[in-house]
Subunit: 205 residues, 2 copies
DNA sequence: AAGTCAATGGGTAGTTCTACCCATATCCAG
DNA sequence: CTGGATATGGGTAGAACTACCCATTGACTT
């Protein structure tokens, strides 16, 4: 059973776009098609899971530039670069730029469907990770500036007394901040707080 | 100034191998050449930084299979797949298999050198990360089985009392284990211990 | 003007952790 | 067989943390 993950199609060729859209919808995949990179960007919501089937050669913003732009923003939308004339150089540049896959339009339907399903699954995985990450970030942004300062020292393992000295505060004040931090971030120990903080950039097994 | 990072070349074609070796050595890069994947594997030391310039088509174990094998072991040796007849399908499969780059042998010397230098730099970065990771692992493997068990609960933020109950021990014994753990891993707090443990799979910024 | 929040500081009691001291039993290697 | 590591348990004292209570100041909002 699929989630609400969508397949976005960006291709300026009406026939090709409609043909692919038909193919994917026949396989019960939710599709959203655009005829230019600009139109896609205007309506794309990065907080929904999905994958992107992207034509390389288009008037205006080309596929490679859109790919690079998307990668510079985030990397939780797997991109399948879709091309009519596959040359090695484009394929290499595309994949090194972070594309999930590189497909030729002449590929048979079975293969295309298979690759799209893989990209969709990857998109859902990345989306879940992103949700976790933003959840952590939101917890930490609830802290006031002072609390954030104290938090950074707590996850280094500094004792209240040391923090008080270094920040020129009384121990009582640090204790108060510490309590607020642990309430706001909803953790029961410094170990949990440490994991919460470092979960930004890591994927724990 | 380069470190001791080496460029490994694996190619069954003598002329090509020597030509590339000459090119790289002219640029003052340390080179180690092999005429088969098997010979390379026999003498490759995975604990040294470097990169691999790998021919696709070879008798015996082919380039793609060697790449996949190496990726299954670790991923701190960047591989540049080097091919005479670049077709899109091979390029895509190679890069999706985790290759760092895909180069055609017809490329000019300047380009080859540039790509090799990039791979070498990447190899050094990956090597440094690997050193950190193994350092953490070594610290943690110094723990006895019982200590490891206690450690896992400590980094979850469990209190000595709870650990004692769950493991059917006295608090005194848990305290003793805790002390030994922190001495062996050379940390001054549970927060540090937590970071040490989760540094296995993460790259902290 | 009143209310809320952040930041500051204090007291007191109870829990938890750390640092010392002590001991016993097992197992493995020199 | 003796020493070392592992695992177990106890006592005691002090440091650190937690959970309550109290208060003032300043800034921003309603």
């Amino acid at each position: 059973m699929a989630t609400n993950a969508k397949v976005y199609i960006v291709d300026d060729d009406d026939d090709m776009r409609n043909s692919i859209q038909w193919l994917l919808e026949s396989a019960n995949l939710p599709v959203c098609a655009f005829e230019s990179a600009e139109q896609f960007l205007a309506s794309y919501n990065e907080n929904k899971p999905g994958c992107l089937l992207l034509d390389v050669r288009m008037p205006g913003m080309g596929g490679l530039r859109l790919l690079e732009y998307l990668q510079s923003i985030h990397r939780h939308l797997p991109v399948i670069m879709f091309t009519g004339y596959g040359d090695v150089d484009t394929a290499v540049r595309t994949l090194k730029a972070g594309a999930f896959d590189f497909l030729e339009k002449t590929a048979n339907h079975q293969l295309i469907l298979e690759r799209v399903r893989l990209a969709l699954a990857e998109g859902e995985t990345l989306h879940r990770r992103e949700l976790d990450r933003t959840r952590c970030k939101q917890l930490l942004t609830k802290l006031s500036p002072r609390e954030h300062e104290v938090m950074l020292r707590l996850i280094q393992g500094q004792a209240n007394k040391l923090i008080a000295i270094e920040l020129g505060l009384s121990e009582r004040t640090v204790e108060k901040h510490r309590k607020n931090i642990m309430e706001k971030t909803n953790v029961g120990s410094i170990a949990e707080l440490t994991r919460l903080f470092y979960a930004h950039d890591s994927e724990v097994v």
